[in-house]
Amino acid sequence: MVHRSSFVPATAALIALVYLLSLSAVCEAASFEDTRCKCVCDKTWDASGKETRAVFTNTTRSEQCDCEHVVKPLAPFLSCSRCLCRTETRNTTTIKVVVIFIICVVSLLFVYMLFLLCLDPLIQRRPTSYQQHTNEEVNLSRGVPEEDMSSGPRTEDAAATTPTGAGPSPQAMSARQRSLLNMVSKEQKKWKGTVQEQRKNIYDRHSMLN
């Protein structure tokens, strides 16, 4: 839930992907059902003296989930008193959506990380001077409560817009856009300062989380 709110572009990409996949899944959905009837029987020997298998599953929903319908057609010699049948359900759609969502999040983070590590130092020629650690709570208590919640996607946007925004003439941009960009880059700078401070605590001074 929290993830979802903090990744608007990810969600959009996700919806598109899920749609595509659900189209492609129609033709092969047969082998991945949401319900199954699983019967576990004691092992015994068939006519030729080989051990039988113990697990019988049936995913066609039309039949009832009991030994008579699941085991008997396959192994008529098995005694049904030694079988235990159970219906189990899962939700394949949830699994699909979640896994694709995770792939999106991880790849977005990866791309953004590459950007921060490689391209960002090139764009900002001058070395960034990190301001003294400002904390996010201060901002919140001064009256921008909900907005700060979405600073995740905004910093994300900054990554996408800064390189392109530097190219065309700045006059073309409306003032509103510019102020938005300013705000975004300010947010990003603040966030970077926080991370820098955390890094100093953990990796340099070793004063926390050892």
Binding site: M149, Q198, I202, N210
Partner: protein, 717 residues
Amino acid sequence: MRHRHIVKKRMEGCWEQVKGAHDAWSGWVCVLLVGVAAGTCAGIIDIGATWMSDLKEGVCLEAFWFNKEQCCWSGPSLNATSLDSAIKCKQWYSWGQMISGGSDAGSYIIGYLFFVLWALLFGMLAAMLVRVFAPYACGSGIPEIKTILSGFIIRGYLGKWTLLIKSVGMMLAVSAGLSLGKEGPFVHVACCCGNIFSYLFPKYGRNEAKKREILSAASAAGVSVAFGAPIGGVLFSLEEVSYYFPLKTLWRSFFCALIAAFILRSINPFGNDHLVMFSIDYDEPWHLQELIPFILLGALGGLFGKFFIKFNIMWCRYRKFSRLGNYPIFEVLAVTFITALLSYPNPYTRMNTSELIKLLVSRCGPEDDVELCDYGRNLNMTDTFKYSAVAGNDVHSALWKLALALIFKMVITIFTFGIKIPAGLFIPSMAVGAIVGRMMGIGFEQLIVSNPDSVFFSNMCEAPDKCIITPGLYAMVGAAAALGGVTRMTVSLVVIMFELTGGLEYIVPMMAAAMTSKWVGDALGREGIYDAHIALNGYPYLDSKEEFTHTTIAADVMRPRRNDPPLAVITQDSLTVEETESLLRNTEHNGFPVVVSRESQYLVGFVLRRDLNLAIANARKTSDGVVSNSVIYFTGHVPVNPHGPAPLKLRKILDMAPVTITDQTPMETVVEMFRKLGLRQTLVTHNGRLLGIITKKDVLRHIAQLQNQDPESILFN
């Protein structure tokens, strides 16, 4: 103050009454949201982690989003008429199978290679994400949560980025096959949710003490989703994490844990209609004689706990003070590489640790074709799987592999816990205990099966070939004992274990083991792993489990000491902005007492450094006429002075009710106050005049001094 305002307003009309009601129920709404968020995060992480860890071995070609179990969920299709027991799942392709085609040796090597490469990739990604986006996301988080709940504030520790990176990092770290679990970090994730949601409600967002109530509830939700144990979560919050736990918090924690478990259950991440992977389905009776091995397991668990804590702390200290600490990412890669390299050949270390525990605690049924279940059973008997039987050759080879896995897990976990990625240690320590337990269980089972007529065991067998000993139960008890030895939990541990496995029948064995494990552990060394890590990092944490038994008084502990410069104070109506700013620059205190005047030293209140800084900066920016020599007033009425610069009124940031004690108060009382109220400082007065201040660090220093330790060495910067 705020509450009084609302109660007063409530008299004034219908709308205000609604507002008052909203304020009253906001606590419940907040924990509801936290529960929903924690459950959702846990569902996502569970699904992701199982999928990614199976990705190391192969892929479900037709539907890549399934893990191995889900891929083969439908089983061999209905029209497969063969009754052969060795039907393999056709949809799942291992990497070796896919690339080399079929040859056994080639596919083994390719599988090995892919296993190591995927592990390295996941490990590196986790370490890099943590380093670049949120360094605070590393580690287990429980020591820090404990410290935060005791009243210390770590800025940014519970932020949005920490939440995101911790969730993603946990999945990656678990999938890398490292010997760590995602259960401990769930507590941190849930607390992040708690912190974020508390900002939606001003009652909680603006008051650190109230926020801690939400965090207590959130940590309960964290354990609730980690183990599918809502009540265990509440007890965990009470026993292990929380500092101050009134009944109101208990009920909220209960509700929060309930909601989180409900959400997770409806996501159904494991597709088995249970909250957790390892639920057991047997309820065979246990016998009185078996208490002896259970207690023995408890003692072993305690020993393991002590051994683990000692070496882990040694290694972490080495990491902290040596050059090793400068290469965190390299260290993660090295540990991942060694783990992957050594764990692939042994099937019991190759599989996911949760799956290993599941295998060890479950009973052998007809559907299990694993080595561990190779017993010479009489298939003509009814209910043959209920009774014990003579072990076959495969069980012996499984025991060897388990012994190797045990040594490997014990050693590698010491080096893994503490590297700079999200890592918990519930699962690895439970795995160690479960391996020992299962081995002992099999041993005991074989002892009885071979002597069914002995006087000692006669009541355990209905007939010579019908003895009931369940090795899975021993594994469960062993897991509880090892976890108890490491964390020193008792009540919550037992409750977590039986909720986790569903084995209500086995409370007494687990209680016996947990208690023994705690006794043995405490006899060897008092502190659990989390307390040991708190001490290693030097967090200002007052342990509420130990009693303070010295006869010192407040005057001995308070600052300033006799030869120190006088206490930095602010007067209520004579200091200018400039003087205050220089005071702020020249001192590093986090707050300043406000007095009537320097001569009288009568106490007015207490003002925090952060508030003062903000208020001055704000005033300089916005209000007109505030210049360097404006006078700051903390009083209610400001004298009108038309000639001088405009005054700065700061009454609203002043805490008018600071906790005070007299200089003759015994330290025992003071320590108790710090613990119970979660104080950070208290002011010392004498005849109503301010004399000094005692901070939490002063108290900690004092306790360390009384225990003849070097006070400076153990303290947080």
